[in-house]
């Protein structure tokens, strides 16, 4: 009897271990299956009046609740049910699986990749009524070479340098006098002198990818390798002598947090909100909104990314914010288009943008946008009115092949751990090898 009991217990343990030991691939498959069932349901229901669509979104937490509220309003107005796929941090992985099986949701968000990654699965939308409402500033980001767009973009992602002005004021730093990375270095010295962390970012992808344009790509910079980056012949040497050199000097100067290698987003938000750090590099105003939930009295500002030398380019990167595209093979075309029309209405776009902190990209929504993100941008535009600011897509999305984001994160982390000459070369070789590989993959079709 005892042996039987032991066997049963052992079997139970095996089951529980198996349940605990599932890998990410399996985890991401679960919602996929769910999605497929929902999609089949929606396709069948699509034939009935009202119908139903499956919408996959990146939203989580409060933003998801706001989105759910909007979909309920949409259902009330149109009778079309919306089944939301909440993939959270598994969004990209799940969408890649669904693309591989050519089985996508009726409507889905493209999180910066409507052209490079998702285009072949999306329906052209230039004929939609809201097309003329799209602001020029964002059109370049979502249109392909022929001017065709595949998504409704309700907000833009603005990416530049964030400042906790409580800290910089205390340190006596005039943030609008910072024009070059050397100016920032000098400002960091002042911040460090008052016992605060000058740069609150972690050693993730954002450092090596988001600020790179100001060193190795844009007009007037130390290196202008734009052409080579785009045609796959870039040798990366300028990256080493400019960006990596500057980062190495800031590491040596102790401008980063002690736990820079492992601090996560929550840590960064908390420290920046608490006024423990002065600058966040390559980030967007949405980050400040998260900080304000922790410390409503904190004061923040947005300033451009800097030039590598006097006369270089100070830039602000604009990327896809919140976008919605329609799967080209959906059987619920009318319902999906109705949903995009609904999201394009100024008050609906505004509701979502207020929640995400992103800046409106529809003219009608811009007119009524009171979000914190736009406020930050307006202050920045006013303070930097005398400067020639260069606006471009996010650097890695424009100049690097798809798949480099994770590689940049790994390389940056490795570099922060050891920035000796030997390891700098090893990191550079790693970047180049992956760039060559992914470039070849992207252009082999």
């Amino acid at each position: 009897m005892k042996k039987v009991l032991a066997l049963i217990l052992a079997a139970l343990m095996i089951l529980s271990l198996a349940a605990c030991g599932g890998n990410g691939g399996n985890e991401s498959k679960a919602p996929e299956t769910q999605g497929t069932e929902k999609e089949n349901e929606s396709k069948e229901e699509g034939k009935t009046e009202g119908g139903s669509i499956e919408v996959a979104v990146t939203y989580t937490g409060d933003q998801l609740e706001v989105f759910k509220g909007l979909t309920e309003k949409f259902t009330k107005e149109t009778g079309i049910e919306v089944v939301i796929d909440e993939y959270g941090s598994d969004y990209e992985a799940t969408m890649k699986s669904r693309m591989a099986s050519n089985n996508l949701p009726d409507v889905f968000q493209t999180h910066g990749w409507s052209i490079l990654r998702y285009k072949e699965y999306l329906m052209p939308l230039n004929d939609q009524p809201w097309y003329s409402d799209l602001d020029e500033s964002g059109l370049g980001v979502i249109a392909d070479a022929d001017g065709t767009i595949y998504v409704l973009m309700i907000s833009e992602l603005v990416n530049a340098t964030l400042v906790n002005t409580d800290v910089t004021d205390a340190a006596g730093v005039d943030i609008y006098a910072i024009h070059t990375w050397e100016d920032l270095y000098a400002a960091c010295e002042k911040v460090k002198a008052i016992g605060k962390t000058p740069i609150g970012s972690n050693s993730g992808s954002g450092i090596f990818a988001n600020i790179a344009g100001g060193f190795v790509t844009y007009p007037g910079e130390a290196a202008v390798d734009e052409k080579a980056q785009l045609d796959g012949t870039w040798d990366w040497q300028s990256y080493k002598t400019t960006l990596m050199d500057w980062v190495a000097r800031t590491i040596d100067a102790g401008f980063w947090a002690e736990d820079v290698l492992t601090r996560n987003n929550d840590d960064m938000t908390q420290k920046f909100a608490d006024g423990e750090a002065a600058f966040m590099l390559g980030n967007d105003p949405g980050f400040c909104i998260s900080c304000l939930t922790l410390n409503p009295d904190a004061n923040f500002a947005l300033i451009p990314n800097f030039a590598s030398k006097e006369g270089g380019t100070e830039e602000v990167n604009i990327g896809e914010g919140d976008t919605f595209g329609i799967w080209k093979d959906t059987k619920n075309v009318d319902q999906a288009k109705a949903f995009l029309n609904f999201m394009a209405q100024a008050e609906n776009a505004k509701t979502m943008n207020d929640s995400t902190g992103k800046i409106a990209s529809l003219k009608s929504a811009m007119a009524i946008d009171e979000g914190y993100g736009l406020k930050m941008l307006k202050v920045f535009q006013e303070k930097c009115a005398d400067r020639d600011i260069f606006y471009d897509n996010l650097w890695d999305r424009k100049y690097m092949p798809s798949g480099m984001w994770g590689i940049f994160g790994n390389a940056c982390n490795d570099f922060f751990q050891d920035h000796s000459a030997a390891n700098t070369d090893a990191v550079l070789a790693y970047l180049k090898e992956n760039y060559d590989d992914l470039y070849e993959e992207a252009h082999s079709k």
Partner: protein, 289 residues
């Protein structure tokens, strides 16, 4: 007799079909994908033969990750078995509150590995973590627990061992309770001390439990994923990645699905090559009673 064998065979068919569907098909597909250069989502795949396997054997990160996986597998097995057996021996004694202690020690298993990792992150955090706060009470400077890949790997391994130690405990407890008292009694009458009774009577009779615990822990350790995701994110510098996590990153983040599959196939054979001989070795030491 033949008829009975056929009946037995028929009864195994559903299990074989399920295994073929959920293990066989993905395995064959994984091997197929490993022979292609593919980004994981495009409709275009390019056949490149064994290039991905050659690449794996030139990939330093692959070997580092393989090393970490060995630490997770063998380290977790060692820790969990020592802790599990010790607590099982303790809890096999009669004392007040024994059931409560058993339940408490088993509790961590009920939490998902990801949540456990999140909780433990707040303990090992450099800035304001629980352990460093406690060190601060004694005037000791904060320790950067996850500063290097090796440190982070060891932290994850200990976290995993602590969480799943209860499985070993239950297995050993069941094994201990299955050993008839008369064998120990006889040994004691022959003059054996407590250590001798444990070494020459209890331990050999526990071999079936040890086999289950070791194989389960090894496989669980080799597959470690969720604790690492939550605790270190595989960092710093991908230094605490397990093979499972590395495969996931390669496939979904780095867009190297073919290479990820090749690493997956290698991982499958590594686990097979390690667990089968261990299983056989332990089986040979099994004692009938």
């Amino acid at each position: 007799m033949k008829k009975k064998r056929r009946q037995y065979l028929m009864l195994t068919i559903p299990a074989i079909l399920l295994l073929a569907l959920f293990l066989g098909v993905p395995l064959v597909n994984g091997i197929r994908v490993s022979l292609y250069k593919w980004n994981g989502y495009s409709q275009n795949m390019r056949f490149i033969g064994i290039e991905n396997f050659v690449k794996a054997f030139q990939d330093k990160l692959f070997f580092k990750t393989l090393g970490n996986t060995m630490i997770y597998g063998f380290g977790s097995t060692l820790f969990q078995n020592i802790l599990g057996l010790s607590t099982a021996l303790l809890l096999n004694q009669k004392f007040k509150g024994r059931n409560a202690v058993r339940a408490i020690l088993y509790m961590p298993i009920m939490i998902s590995g990801f949540i456990m990792g999140q909780i433990l992150y707040f303990f090992v955090q450099m800035d304001g973590g629980v352990f460093n706060e406690m060190l601060g009470w004694f005037g000791i400077a904060p320790v950067y627990w996850t500063e290097t890949g090796l440190k982070a790997t060891i932290v994850c391994m200990i976290a995993n061992s602590w969480q799943y130690m209860g499985i070993c405990m239950i297995l050993y407890l069941a094994g201990l309770q299955g050993i008839p008292d008369m064998y120990r009694e006889a040994a004691r009458l022959d003059g054996a001390g407590p250590m001798q009774v444990f070494r020459h009577v209890t331990l050999p009779l526990l071999i079936p439990s040890i086999i289950s615990a070791v194989v389960l822990n090894l496989i669980g350790g080799f597959k470690m994923y969720d604790v690492i995701v939550a605790l270190t994110g595989g960092g710093p510098s991908r230094g605490s990645l397990s093979l499972s996590y590395y495969i996931q990153l390669l496939y979904f983040q780095d867009e190297k699905a073919g290479y990820a599959s090749a690493v997956g196939v290698i991982m499958f054979f590594v686990i097979l090559v390690i667990t089968i001989p261990i299983n056989e070795f332990l089986k040979r030491r099994e004692v009938e009673y």
